[in-house]
């Protein structure tokens, strides 16, 4: 087991007290985020996940090209919405079931190996499979099945059924998130008010998006980039996200693009002059991520490679700082509490 010691600290950044409070048009920003990013994002995830399920049904060979392509497309779609951790993605722990990572204690390998060893019949029933540990569900479990040779020793027939159970579960979960968003949850977040069970005011709806933005950037900087970096004395390349399938950098690129797009939406009413630092930071982070040639961050072990990744991490943190400086005061929202608080 491993202890998650704390790094949380209270940082006090007092905003100018003259900061504008939310105006009447701010709901347009929510509408824009819903229409441009959230609904299309989840629609893409649902469609790509259905194709993944179909590909596995067709041929469950872990090395099959069609299956692996479908896996990558669906994983791409997931990363594009992975910062939107509220509402339908949190119902029934759906987001966790799609993507359990980081996995500090190797729970995915352990749980999958246990299912395979016992040939647990839970794979034969889609509904029951929805109750197994999240360590054996979602994209990271599938990655382990497709790319990690150590799990291939059991009965190939069982492994095939397990792969299909995982893809079916991914498709079901993705479809459920999309169905909840369109139209019910979209209606909720677009119509805040005293009668709304979740968003009592426009500000609370905006805060939800702002919080998603800030948490998403924090996760990319601290986890997707910070975990493999480890320390100078002890870099940890195997702590990179989805390194087995060679996706670590790709995930960072997609998440930077998605959070940057959300930042630009939330800042769209801010005068150009005021938002310039955000535009600069977004452009820089995208550019640095785009030209980094280190797909699974093995560079963390060399001084030069490490520096490049640290510079990218700093660029993501710059986007976060700029978002806090530009968007927070413009909307009159604060980040509030997020799931990364605590250890």
């Amino acid at each position: 087991m491993m202890c998650r010691k704390t790094a949380a600290a209270l940082c006090l950044a007092l905003w100018p007290l003259a900061a504008a409070a939310a105006g009447g048009d701010d709901l347009d920003l929510v509408a824009k985020a819903v229409d441009v990013q959230i609904l299309p994002g989840y629609e893409t995830l649902a469609a790509a996940s259905a194709e993944l399920d179909a590909a596995a049904a067709e041929d469950c060979d872990p090395e099959g090209e069609t299956l692996r392509d479908a896996y990558n497309s669906a994983f791409d779609a997931w990363i594009g919405v992975s910062h939107l951790r509220f509402g339908p993605s949190e119902t029934d722990n759906r987001a966790f079931a799609l993507a359990f990572w980081p996995d500090d204690r190797g729970a995915s390998r352990k749980t999958l190996a246990g299912l395979i060893r016992e040939e647990d019949p839970v794979v034969n029933d889609a509904e029951s499979f929805g109750n197994v540990s999240i360590a054996a569900r979602g994209f990271f479990a599938l990655e382990m099945m497709l790319y990690d040779g150590s799990l291939s020793e059991g009965d190939p027939g069982y492994s095939c059924r397990l792969v299909r159970a995982i893809t079916r579960d991914i498709a079901t979960t993705a479809a459920a998130i999309e169905a909840d968003w369109d139209p019910a949850y979209a209606e909720l977040i677009l119509h805040p008010g005293p009668e709304n069970p979740i968003y009592l005011s426009d500000l609370e709806a905006l805060q939800e998006l702002y919080k998603a933005l800030m948490t998403g950037l924090e996760f990319t900087a601290d986890s997707r980039l910070g975990r493999p970096l480890g320390t100078f004395e002890k870099p940890r390349p195997k702590r990179a996200e989805a390194w087995r399938s060679g996706r670590s950098l790709r995930d960072v690129q997609i998440s930077i693009a998605a959070t940057s797009a959300l930042a630009e939406i939330l800042a769209s009413d801010v005068p150009e002059e005021t938002r310039a630092p955000l535009d600069v930071a977004v452009e820089r982070a995208g550019r640095l991520a785009g030209r980094l040639d280190d797909p699974i961050f093995t560079g963390v072990e060399t001084p030069t490679g490490r520096l490049r990744i640290e510079v990218l991490q700093q660029a993501v943190n710059d986007v976060r700082d700029a978002s806090q400086a530009v968007i927070g005061p413009a909307l009159g929202v604060s980040q509030g509490f997020n799931s990364l608080d605590g250890d």
């Binding site: 998650r4 010691k5 600290a9 980040q335 990364l340």
Partner: protein
């Protein structure tokens, strides 16, 4: 606002009546007084644990081991009520890992079951077993562990190799030494270390009983010393107390930060929901003793205490005073009513877990994927904590503290850290 103002003026004229306008300084006074009392209680109960450990080591017996376990369980009661002070107070947060780090690779400390496995990709020291090895190599250096001292635990073993799972000190290291591994999975039963693990001569089981005793003694002494430091930090003249009292606005924000971060990211997320989603019996905080239900309950009670400005000491004395609730009620009555209702609901949901556990279904049994009722109990508390967090955010807004940014990132707070 206007009404309050008029009321204050009226009181000023009359010069009598209850203090209507809650004073932020008084609220902070209550808060630091509760902290002083709760850490003081944690120290006193840890000293009792120390006495029980001394008795066990002097005359090992089943009864003496049981008495030490009871003392450990009692020590957790006040300590867990202090967890609400952790987030928001950097002095506490920086210190906390010494006393309450979790989860741990317990094979670092003592013998473990074969199913535990060997060193892992993450931690090559997961099975050092310092109790059985008077010397071993750590990060290329030979470590002399011929005597197990508090210094060895704190300075060499704890977080060895920068691995957080290398927990050598604090409540959970002691818990492991008193209970041993819980090998029952999601079935009933806690750790079952025999008292003879501390017996002398031929009666000693699992070897190295003297060194095991030395470890237990060192870890307990260290816990007492660390708690003494923290109790001092909240007493008159202490740094933590001074820090909270230095600024009314950030002081009140600190209180709500502690509540919000503990509610959401820590308790609801890290400690409860994750374990449930993984169905992993090791994902429970007090996993050796099966005391997790109490740890969670007292976390919840600690948050209730702080908001209401009340705390019952281990000697039964009630500490109370002006509260954040008074401040919020004055700013926005509805928000206060909502948050109080949410805190009650959380305590109730955690109490349901506690009563069920005390009636025989332990926390790890609730994590079984086929235990729908147990899972629902845990989710009930997670949901209550999440709901409560929203109300805490509303309280932050009502008190106009939301110009203060809550942050928890080392790289942001200290950008140079990433280049070190």
């Amino acid at each position: 606002m206007k009404r309050t103002l008029l009321a204050s003026v009226a009181l000023g004229v009359a010069g009598v009546g209850p203090a209507a306008a809650a004073d932020r300084t008084e609220v902070l006074e209550t808060y630091v007084n509760i902290a002083e009392a709760a850490y003081g209680d944690s120290l006193v109960t840890a000293q009792r644990l120390g006495a029980a450990v001394d008795a066990l080591l002097a005359n090992p017996s089943a009864e003496a081991l049981q008495a030490a376990r009871t003392a450990w369980l009692q020590a957790r009661v006040p300590y867990m009520q202090t967890e609400v002070f952790r987030f928001g107070n950097p002095i506490v947060d920086d210190w906390e890992g010494k006393v309450n780090a979790w989860p741990l690779d317990e094979g670092l400390i003592d013998y473990v079951d074969a199913a535990y496995g060997g060193p892992t990709d993450e931690n090559e020291y997961a099975t050092v077993n310092v109790i059985a090895h008077p010397s071993f190599t750590l990060s290329g250096e030979e470590v002399d562990a011929s005597r197990i001292t508090p210094e060895l635990l704190a300075n060499t073993l704890h977080e060895a190799d920068d691995i957080e799972a290398n927990v050598a000190t604090g409540y959970h290291a002691i818990e492991f030494l008193l209970w041993g591994q819980d090998l029952n999975g999601t079935g009933p039963g806690a750790g079952n270390r025999p008292w003879t693990d501390y017996a002398a001569g031929d009666a000693c089981t699992h070897g190295n009983c003297d060194r095991r005793g030395e470890y237990l003694k060192a870890a307990t002494d260290l816990l007492i010393a660390d708690l003494g430091d923290m109790a001092g930090a909240w007493a008159e003249g202490g740094a933590a107390r001074a820090s909270v009292l230095s600024d009314e606005t950030t002081g009140v924000a600190t209180i709500l930060t502690g509540m919000g971060s503990l509610s959401y990211g820590e308790l609801a997320g890290e400690r409860m929901r994750l374990g449930l989603m993984l169905n992993d019996p090791e994902e429970e905080q007090d996993c050796f003793s099966d005391n997790t239900y109490n740890s969670h309950f007292y976390d919840g009670l600690g948050m209730w205490n702080i908001y209401h400005g009340q705390y019952v000491r281990v000697d039964g004395t009630l500490i109370s005073g002006a509260s954040v609730s008074d401040l919020v009620a004055e700013a926005d009555g509805e928000v206060d009513v909502g948050l109080r209702a949410d805190l009650d609901a959380t305590v109730m949901a955690l109490l349901r877990i506690k009563t069920t556990a005390e009636a025989g279904m332990s926390y790890d049994q609730m994590l079984d994927r086929n235990n729908a009722a147990g899972g629902a109990l845990l989710m009930g508390a997670v949901d209550a904590l999440v709901t409560q967090t929203k109300s805490i955010e509303r309280a932050v807004s009502a008190l106009e503290l939301d110009t203060i940014q809550f942050e928890g990132s080392e790289s942001l707070d200290n950008p140079d850290a990433v280049f070190q």
